[in-house]
Amino acid sequence: MQTTTVFLVLIAFCIISFFLGRTRSQLIAKTRGGASLHSLPKHYGYMAAAWALLPSIAILLVWTGLESHLIYNSVISGLPAEVRSLSSDQLGLYYNQLQSFALNQIDEFGLDEGQVAAAQHYREIAASLAYKKALVVLVVAVAGASLALGRIKPALRARNHVENILEWMLFICSFIAVLTTLGIVLSVLFESIRFFQTIPVTEFLFGLQWSPQMAIRSDQVGASGSFGFIPLLVGTVLISIVALLIAVPVGLMSAIYLSEYASRRFRAVTKPVLEVLAGVPTVVYGFFAALTVAPFIRHLGESLGLNVASESALAAGLVMGIMIIPFVMSLSDDIINAVPDSLREASLGMGATMSETIRRVVLPAALPGIVGGILLAASRAIGETMIVVMAAGLSAKLTINPLEAVTTITVQIVTLLVGDQEFDSPKTLAAFALGFVLFFFTLLLNIVALYVVRRYREQYD
């Protein structure tokens, strides 16, 4: 049986158990001479349904997750020894072919006899596993439901029981956040460790050359690619600095103007309009950067006699700056608004003008918070992908000239992972190492920024 069918049968069974539980509790109450139930009949129904569904669905999920591994191991162990001694790449290819054949995705053409036989074996195992899965899952569901139904008596605290189950489910849902973080850390960490087994950490961290092409044959010229990550870091930082140079002045000054000078009505209209900039998808910014801003900057540079690359860091940084303006604006706005009015009034009362008050009193008081906001904006800029993928270059040049093309960490992750790849090559693993670095950097920036912002908030609370 198909997994979806099993799932649907399970749901149907769960609904049936609900009605069974409800009816049974009512019947029991009646036969006991109207003895009052502890909970409403529907709670007994919920209990039966939960017992039917939860254990069986857990088994279904785990089984489905492990199924392909089970099939793989069984099929591989049935293969002749000379096939099993193939390198892992070739074995993977061999297995993929027979798998696609077994699933009727390709025809027999180009497969050897062993593969056809193994595919037959594959089908048998898959069918028997699917059969066993359906059987086990349904037996567990029936067992769970009958256990729950058997326990129904007027004194059973079914409502509390159901509420306990629900509270556990609530907890599990919130724990998914922790699992996600764990999943991210483990997935990038494991692949990074495998990467650092072939490429030394020091070469990665301090190398000045990034050219991840791996040779197809080992005797090729320039066989091993170089994986020095410094040019990527410099490129990323360069583009982020350009972005912050745009976003911080514009965002901060807008926030100051809107919170200190503008009328309520002007503010009510302006703020949402500027926040539209935050809602524009990054791929749109990328398109704008690549097709409009970059050529414009190149023409401008040419007319000034400058040599500007067509994928200059300036264009990508500029557009990224536009993207994070609303981000800087709303963060600074919050922080400026949190500065107590007593400080402003004291300064204005001493005869200072509005701008003097802002510059000498409000901004110094808000400075830690604003710095925190800028750090958050920087982490945004570092992790931004689409704009740089579309508008920044691919060649890793070590330069701090914003008119040249540079590449960034995120661009390299995308180029290394998009398209066909074998999963074990250093090239693919390098992407995970870069992902690890990216995650680590942005996490660090975020923790520092959140800490600074929180400390600042507490100061005036």
Partner: protein, 429 residues
């Protein structure tokens, strides 16, 4: 202090005041300029896209006198409907074009002549003949879809002013097109292909339907996962979580996840869901799961705020008449908080709809012509389609890209408007 001193101080202050006021005005001006700059950026961005994209909503058709003669169709004497499906309609189009412009003789010129009509014309003629086999052997005026290059000339995007070597539409083609226009054989129509077709290598045949359906399935998966999980997590953290280390850990994690770059979620999807659990590549299922994990923090944070905003009196009243904690939350707090929760969820969904980078990681960048039929079919989504088209060098795709962006933005605006509307209604309570 004498009067004289006082006078001098006042004079000093008076003198400095002008400078200080000037500085004040300057500062204010900077502020206004900053706000204005934001407006200008937004305007430039939108104007650029609308100007580039709006031509894509129309397409030129050319009226060709099609000669369905049996020879050029390459049909046997007594043909069946099967033969019709295999007939050479390309030759029919070419022959008809040659008849219309008898002067064309050289091979290179002929090839240019054929390039006036889209290759898709073959298929539309085939469908026509299969629907009405009596057409064979007849001559008929039929509107055929123009090639994207011819269309761009007719729309005035390419003019004779550019150097001939730098444009794809050559001078001869321009003269032919001018003749056709004078004879009333060209017509601008609304581009339905754009909304009804999947991706194609030919700009005039490419459409966004496959990507739209892909986006729909992906968002469906995202919503089905992120909404219940997010709301349940928010309920737990607001109403049930004890103050302890574990709760702190969960909260810190949610806040940090909200700031993790989206591409890292793509790496997670690739390593965990595709390589470990071996879910299908390029499928809306995996894309939806990844986007759900990405939007969870947004939904949890906004739902918590909405639950917090529910007046405690409601809870106390429910608890006071003997409802359990869970009943209080489910029957009384949640319904009141629902508009706020929905607002947050819609904003989260809008984020997910515009997201591209993590989907590139899990292989949703394939060239998809077929409309996906389920969550496990290979699919692409609208932002990725935009990314793919933006990469194509052909001019016709630039306008398609902008038009697809306009469609995407229209959806985003609708979603955000719905969120604003909900929030307004919520506030009125």
């Amino acid at each position: 202090m004498t009067n004289d001193d006082n006078y001098r101080t006042t004079a000093l202050i008076q003198a400095s005041l002008r400078k200080r006021y000037a500085r004040e005005r300057r500062f204010r001006l900077y502020g206004m300029l900053a706000v204005f700059a934001g407006f200008v950026f937004l305007f430039l961005l939108l104007a650029d896209i609308v100007i580039k994209g709006s031509p894509a909503f129309t397409q030129y058709y050319i009226k060709v006198t099609v000669d369905f003669n049996q020879d050029s169709l390459d049909l046997p004497q007594d043909y069946t409907s099967k033969d019709l499906a295999r007939a050479d309609f390309g030759a029919v189009v070419k022959g008809s074009l040659r008849e219309m412009f008898p002067g064309v003789s050289s091979r290179a010129e002929k090839r240019r002549l054929y390039r006036l009509i889209s290759v898709g014309a073959d298929y539309s003629l085939r469908d026509m003949v299969i629907a009405d086999p009596a057409l064979v052997g007849k001559k008929q005026d039929i509107w055929l879809l123009a090639h994207s290059e011819a269309s761009s000339y007719l729309k005035g995007q390419v003019t004779a002013a550019t150097d001939e070597a730098e444009r794809k539409v050559k001078d001869v083609q321009m003269t032919w097109l001018n003749t056709l226009r004078e004879e009333g054989r060209t017509e601008l129509r609304f581009n339905t292909t754009f909304f009804l077709a999947g991706d194609s290598r030919e700009p005039e045949l490419a459409g966004i339907k496959a990507a739209l359906v892909g986006s729909f399935y992906t968002l469906l998966v995202t919503f089905c996962l992120a909404f219940p999980i997010g709301v349940m997590a928010a309920i737990y953290l607001e109403e049930f979580a004890p103050r302890n280390r574990l709760t702190d850990l969960i909260e810190i994690n949610i806040n940090n996840l909200a700031a993790v770059p989206s591409i890292v979620f793509g790496l997670l999807g690739l390593a965990v869901f595709i390589n470990f659990f071996e879910l299908p590549r390029s499928a809306p299922l995996v894309g939806g799961i990844v986007l759900a994990l990405m939007t969870l923090p947004t939904i949890i944070i906004t739902s918590r705020a909405a639950i917090q905003a529910v007046p405690p009196s409601i809870q106390e009243a429910a608890l006071g008449v003997g409802a359990s904690k869970l009943q209080t939350v489910l029957h009384h707090v949640l319904p009141v908080a629902m508009p706020g929760i929905l607002t947050g969820s819609i904003i989260g969904m809008a984020q997910a709809l515009g997201e591209t980078a993590p989907l590139l990681m899990i292989g949703m960048v394939a060239f998809i012509m077929e409309v996906p039929a389920g969550v496990t079919d290979p699919a692409t989504v609208l932002p990725v389609q935009i990314f793919l088209w933006a990469d194509s060098p052909e001019r016709g795709f630039t306008e398609k890209t902008s038009a697809a962006i306009m469609v995407l933005m229209a959806f985003l605006i609708m979603m955000n408007a719905a969120a604003v509307y909900l929030r307004k209604r919520f506030e009125r309570k």
